[in-house]
Symmetry: C2
Subunit: 406 residues, 2 copies
């Protein structure tokens, strides 16, 4: 069961984006499992992809195509990750693009393929190709919920975020979807994110906006520390709502777009954690007072990855010894433990590296009973800070990952 | 329940080592919780300690004392880790040494203190000091089992290893004990190891032997990736069985001692994994064909730490996709995935980076049904290799760590 507010908002239409989907029977019956995005000509598209050395065939193809052209179509299947599939997998990803290019009348390199699902099995290519025309037939602008549902694997709910905002008298929209509930699912792979806006933005700035916001959202979440073979996030600016193109970070509108995109990306990333496998608590790990951002990030991840911290939160046990130990083994040099403060929300549990004198079990228990908790750490050695989002480790995590066999 | 053969062997007496123990009521009633080692004058002692920045007070004191003198006594309590206890904790560790020094008639710096148990509470110093004389009163050479039992926290069984061997017509003994079952226990801390031999060895070589063997034993195990505040391992050579002192690695006897110590240390380390929290399987992760040892170690730990790999083994699911993904995110650069082979014991599950063509579910299921499994990975890019030992991740791990509240 997902943690906290995970409702789909009203998914505003983005001008210049159409979405089609169908049941292609990739793995399961009676479910939407093939989604196509169509972007208006002139759209600028950026992508970021998994760092895993075993990245999937569609990731290789998408990265190559992105270098060559501005994509007009995305084609996404669920049920099969097309990862660990060798040369046949590459050929299948290319064949999917080629067929869609033929049907849509564009170049093959203007198509990016994405797959999520079981690793190590070949795509059922014939069924996938057969599904392309039916999916194209359903293209419409008001289908973001269909897309969010169509890319789910074992997610318990579709994930979306959407905002409208005004710049120089024009109303623009930023809408996105994501999927994922473990860094890797049982056999199922991973995190996908697609965000679109109708603001006109240069391709260079689209890339910069994506990189900047991924680093505070999708690159700051962890469920089990496992990085998938298929992680991908795409941001597109269609420019179809009018206005002049943003081509400089000094343009006042850039800051507004950055703010909106940051909120949308954080929401999409946090929804993945809220729907984390077996999650019963949503934890924000905020580390401040660091000498630099990297050490704050390292310590935040050390806490967020610790199975002992995660089980303590599942048990509602305000076990500060485990948090201190995780800080201590993060590999940060010359840490002065006597300067370290730790809070759970507003309750200080650790003062100057030891138990806080005025801490009471009652105060700790009050915070730990909540479904959402912030662990705040002050390192007392600088001004840098960073934040990571995670969930607890429950029986159900083991159950989901041990029992699952598709 | 521990995995595989975990029986205590016959614990041979080490000449020059006496062991005393008592019930000091540190935390629990009716259990031996205070252990003292006495080493003959002239013994050479080496120690290695946790890298955690939050290391416990006794670790600070032991490291300092080791610099100043060759220890004559070790004093070990269980039930309280004396970690996260600030200046009072340091004073308590020093006071324990001072009192034992007075009773035993040696210098305070000739004593090393060790604590394991709950983090963040002060030692019950009066009870501990009261227990010192009763423990001294029981000193005898044939008490290794008492020591192994006396240092347990939530270990389900005492852990020991012992060998006898002959060098130049003299029979020598190597005997050791260890404790630990998670890298950190719930609140309880961690891994301790004490190994003694009556071979005469120079202090410099005692240190070198310890460092070399720790790197293939205690530094190559993981249960949950959490590094404790109190990890310590001590090796002592009393020289009391006679013969000339080994002062050079070129002495033929050095190699024999290194071999024996390696076996004893590996056994003591592996016993900790076999008794891992909730463990149902013992896994050896052997990575070969690497460009250097570090990358083999990194990949072995990446596999051994992966919650998805560990739950798959708990479920007896030969899920090679999870193993490949863990190899892929280990951070090793320029990995050619098409050169990677993976075996479970003698069954090849992954060939040239993809599913092995002749792999069958039956063959995989046969290996996965075993309690002990070797995951062997060949990176196909060099001659280096390294091995890490771990266990699976079960419901009971979560249960032990979530439910535990001392």
């Amino acid at each position: 069961m997902a943690v906290g507010d995970v409702t789909m908002p009203q998914m505003h239409v983005v001008k210049g984006v159409k979405i089609g989907s169908t049941e292609a029977y990739v793995r399961y019956q009676n479910r939407r499992d093939l989604v196509i995005f169509e972007f208006a000509e002139g759209s600028n598209v950026a992508g970021v992809f998994t760092q895993n050395a075993f990245c999937a065939a569609p990731v290789h193809v998408s990265k190559a195509h992105l270098q060559l052209a501005n994509p007009r179509y995305l084609v996404i299947n669920t049920g099969n990750a097309n990862a660990g599939t060798g040369k046949i997998g590459m050929a299948n990803a290319e064949a999917t693009c080629a067929k869609l290019a033929e049907l849509a009348g564009v170049s093959k390199t203007e198509i990016l393929p994405f797959s999520t699902g079981v690793i190590g099995e070949q795509l059922p290519l014939a069924r996938l190709l057969t599904g392309l025309q039916p999916a194209l037939n359903t293209l419409k602008d008001d289908a973001w919920l269909d897309a969010a549902t169509g890319i789910m694997t074992t997610d318990t709910l579709p994930k979306g975020a959407s905002e409208q905002f005004e710049l120089d008298g024009i109303t623009y929209t930023m809408t996105g979807i994501s999927k994922g509930a473990g860094m890797i699912r049982p056999n199922m792979a991973t995190m996908l994110g697609y965000v679109a806006t109708d603001v006109p933005i240069s391709r260079e700035l689209v890339q910069q906006l994506l990189k900047t916001t991924v680093n505070v959202s999708f690159n700051r979440i962890t469920i089990d520390g496992d990085t998938s073979t298929n992680d991908s996030c795409i941001f597109v600016a269609t420019g179809q709502a009018g206005g002049t193109e943003i081509t400089s970070v000094d343009d006042a509108r850039y800051t507004v777009v950055l703010d909106v995109l940051t909120r949308v990306m954080k929401r999409l990333a946090q929804l993945i954690v809220r729907d984390g496998e077996g999650a019963t608590k949503f934890m924000t790990v905020a580390v401040e007072g660091g000498a630099d951002t990297q050490e704050c990030c390292d310590i935040a991840y050390s806490i967020a990855h610790s199975p002992l911290v995660k089980t303590a939160f599942f048990a509602s046990d305000p076990n500060w010894g485990r948090i201190l130990a995780a800080i201590g083994y993060a590999g940060v040099t010359n840490l002065d433990v006597e300067k370290i403060q730790v809070w759970l929300d507003d309750v200080q549990i650790c003062k100057d590296g030891g138990a806080a004198a005025d801490y009471t079990e009652e105060a700790g228990a009050r915070v730990m009973s909540q479904a959402e908790i912030t662990i705040r750490v002050d390192l007392g050695r600088g001004q840098a800070k960073d934040t990571v989002y995670t969930c607890d480790l429950s029986y159900d995590y083991v159950k989901i990952n041990a029992d699952y066999r598709s």
